[in-house]
Symmetry: C2
Subunit: 160 residues, 2 copies
């Protein structure tokens, strides 16, 4: 199979979709290990992890809003947050304007925990990247660069 006159059109949308699926699957299988191991070690439930992640890029918010965003029931979030509170990962402050409501936010410890979990995820990808040949690495970087210009693809910020 050699390129003739149509060099760039070697790939249909079907092909590209399958390529993307294959690479994503590989990365998911490969890079999740340490992350889930750490979650297990921390003794946190999936809902608690999701809550931490959600709160990490958000102003203090009510339990109801968190429940809504996570697609969980209010009681489920209430219990998840209770557990996070016991571990000192979040704080709850009574809302001054409506004393029924409470605003949840991460503590410094909670923020550190989220960052360490994100770092583990990123570390898995980093291993993959480090294992690439230069030509693979450069091609991938060029392939991703245009996508990062899209407003809906929020850039993940590094640890510093």
């Amino acid at each position: 199979m050699q390129a003739t006159a149509a060099p760039a059109k070697a790939s249909t949308n079907d092909d590209l979709t399958l390529s993307l699926a294959s690479v994503m699957r590989h990365l998911l299988v490969t890079t999740g290990r340490d992350f889930f191991q750490e979650v297990e070690r921390l003794g946190l439930s999936l809902s608690q992890i999701k809550t931490l992640q959600l709160m990490s890029d958000r102003e203090p918010d009510t339990l109801g809003a968190v429940a809504e965003d996570l697609g969980l029931s209010l009681p489920a979030v209430s219990r998840a947050v209770e557990g996070l509170h016991k571990r000192g990962l979040v704080k709850r402050v009574e809302c001054s304007s409506d004393r029924r409501a409470k605003r949840v936010s991460l503590t410094a410890k909670g923020r550190r925990t989220v960052e360490s979990l994100v770092a583990l995820r990123v570390a898995g990808l980093r291993q993959f990247v480090d294992g690439l040949e230069p030509h693979e690495r450069d091609a991938l970087a060029d392939g991703l660069a245009p996508l990062l210009q899209r407003p809906e693809i929020t850039p993940l910020r590094g640890s510093r």
Copy 2:
């Protein structure tokens, strides 16, 4: 920060890792919706989904082997498989050489179910791909192509 003499090295491994993480996160958030909705509709547990997926590219195997591969306890798999059996998605045949063991495999219906779930996942990615501008699409295809040559990245096969 402007590029001076090193044009192609605009991206460090750190940058590339973050780019990859950003795009993956976007795709995961974006493309999972229909899939999980269908899982819910089917009334299958996550362990049952994993079991179906595992068995879809594997010869009939024992419950113990499945449990081992999924990182689940044998009883958990036993119950998951029992549920799948009730729905007609798997069959269990007593092993002739060791009558304690049973070999599990997908039925035709089970295979169709897996295929429909995979199709939903792929459809989400396909939507993303279809929404790309030509230059984004071509760049991404060129960026992924070298990776697909790697033996550890198993190509996903299309429905036909």
